[in-house]
Amino acid sequence: MNSPFKFDEAQALEIARTSVASKLSPVPKDDVDLVESGALDSMAWVDTLISIESAAGIADFGNPWTEKRSKSIRVLAEMIREAQRPFTEEASENLSLPSHANGRISIVGWASALGSQKVTAEQIERALGLPPNKIREGAGIDSVCVAADSEDELTLAQRAAEIALEMAEISVDDIDFLVATSATFLGFPSLAASLHSRLLMPESSGALDVGGACVGLIYSLAVARGLLSTRPQGVALVVAAEVHSRRLNGPQVPGEFRGLFGDGACAFVLSSAATAEQNDCVSLHEFVWGCSGTFASSLAIRVSEDAGLKIQFKGEQLAQAAVAQLNRIFGTLENLSGVSRTKVDYFAIHQPNPRVVEILADKAHIPLDRIPLVSKFYGNLGSVTCGASLCEALSSFRRSGDRSRTPLIFMAAVGPGLVWGGAYLN
């Protein structure tokens, strides 16, 4: 029940009086027992404690209440002062250092949630009037996951986040901030704000959105890592969610483009305070990013004046640029990590479609079985693709039972722009 702030006696009394004033007018004298005198009933008393908790930033303020103490403004003020974290030299030093003093910001929980309707390649080809085998043979996609009527970015993100938090054994009350990304969730309140409310996160925790389309998850992880570095014992929830099936269903969208996409969400719980028991969790290390405007025209999506979508898609050019750039990212990550790509356990990467992944594996000299191939069964999930791939990698390693080490994972993605990003995890 420590407060991150420092209050003197007058300030503590002011907080207590203000919180009581929101329930009572006029405010009783400081020493009056508010409940015993009948001024507040027990529920109003609980709400007063919640008010102080928010105002002073003290978790679980007065809960449980020590039976012997009077429920007066003065005692509330005393308790606000008692709850202050001692401001020691050591604490001061910790605040000026990166919070991950042990150099670690770890993924302690993860999950993906996919659209619950599975549509086969043949069904897509029939529905979009595409030549037979265009999707299965041409793109290498067996099926895509499509959101049911009851599902959207928010419900899928909520499901993924709740599973990830359950795995991490972390309550939503402990999340310092939520970072969300989505290219298909349009309008405001944004996905981060909407998900913050849907998860019933505390009002004192932050919610911010990151762009980048297919690179959005990697950028979100980078932003979360940066924010955690200023917060000792911090927890961040990073979420990506895309429902392409409702955005890319217009007649103006080319069928061969539309048929590649699936719907889903993924969530990761990051902690700068992983405990000894969580030491088998992978940590986020360095990130790389950039933007190559040369290929900006290979994929461009604009909202037109009639609120429809204008799509420019040069599939061949985009695939070539993506393969070349993803390969370059692997090279950069090799240099940063000092580890050859041959030693990497998993490549959690963006997957426009499985054929592009096969070409990349061949060109980059990496075994195909080290790329958790989510696009084959779920379709291109946009920003969720490399997240779902990372979930598969982390779960696969956990299933292997190897506790002697953590896996080395390279993440890489490209998106319209051509924006790109990468990271290595260990």
């Binding site: 329930k23 027990s42 919640i50 209440w65 309550s171 939503v172 409310s197 019933l200 009002e203 004192s204």
Partner: protein, 245 residues
């Protein structure tokens, strides 16, 4: 004689406040708060439960705003018929309903502090009970002088959140009492909080029905505020849930 189906039974001091549904047209119901001949609360033991059909003879009533549902009676007579939970919620969906916070009581909500409960001015609210379907909910446990109290947070489909709603739903209160009774020693608050937000919340969210009725108490003397409270939380708790904990 008028007939109601009891829909909400809430703790009120040492007694109970009840609300029932009265049919006004095909597929249209309204809430009525039958009150004893004297005072507001029915004494315990109370002969009736959610879903019971009750009859009463109305008596002269003054209706202070926003408690337009108040109806003084000469007493309640409970019948033998009983509606199941799903049937009751189905009827409640045809009574007072809201999709936004503004729609709950016909006026905007006010909150004095971040994360604190909301209130409405009594002279602005047009009713004192309303139902809504929720998208998510969580509990918060408070221990005060050895007594366990439950507060709920509710996420509405509109994206709005109702914070810190005191749970006055009598069935849920009894559920908490039974839960506490099963412990030889009261566990720390954090453990109870985790119990409610893991095992019990999972049962709640796994159900098909996610429905609450939000009520307003009468304003206290010298206070021009009606604080929101959680009159009914569906699904209702099942004591069998405790056996699996």
């Amino acid at each position: 004689m008028r007939e109601l189906i009891l829909s909400d039974i809430t703790e009120m001091g040492s007694g109970l406040c009840v609300i029932g549904l009265e049919q006004v047209a095909r597929n249209e119901f309204r809430s009525v708060r039958p009150m004893p001949p004297v005072g507001y609360a029915w004494p315990l033991p109370f002969d009736g439960q959610r879903g019971s059909f009750v009859q009463f003879e109305p008596a002269a009533t003054s209706v202070p705003c926003p408690h337009v549902e108040d109806q003084r009676t000469h007493g309640l007579a409970a019948g033998a018929d009983l509606l199941g939970e799903d049937e009751l919620v189905d009827l409640l969906q045809h009574a007072e309903m809201a999709e936004t916070s503004q729609g709950l009581f016909g006026c905007g909500l006010y909150a004095d502090q971040l994360g604190g409960n909301a209130w409405v001015p009594p002279d602005q609210a047009s009713r004192s009970i309303c139902g809504l379907n929720y998208a998510n909910m969580r509990f918060r446990v408070y221990i005060d002088a050895g007594k366990v109290k439950l507060v709920a947070m509710v996420a509405m489909d509109s994206g709005e959140v109702l914070h810190s709603l005191p749970v006055v739903d009598w069935t849920w209160r009894q559920f908490v009492t039974e839960l506490v009774r099963r412990f030889t020693r009261l566990p720390p608050r954090k453990e109870l909080d985790a119990l409610f937000n893991r095992s019990i919340r999972v049962r709640v969210m796994d159900g098909d029905v996610h429905f609450v009725r939000i009520g307003l108490p009468r304003p206290k003397m010298d206070e021009n505020k009606c604080w929101l409270m959680l009159d009914s939380l569906f699904p209702q708790p099942d004591l069998n849930w405790l056996d699996d904990l």
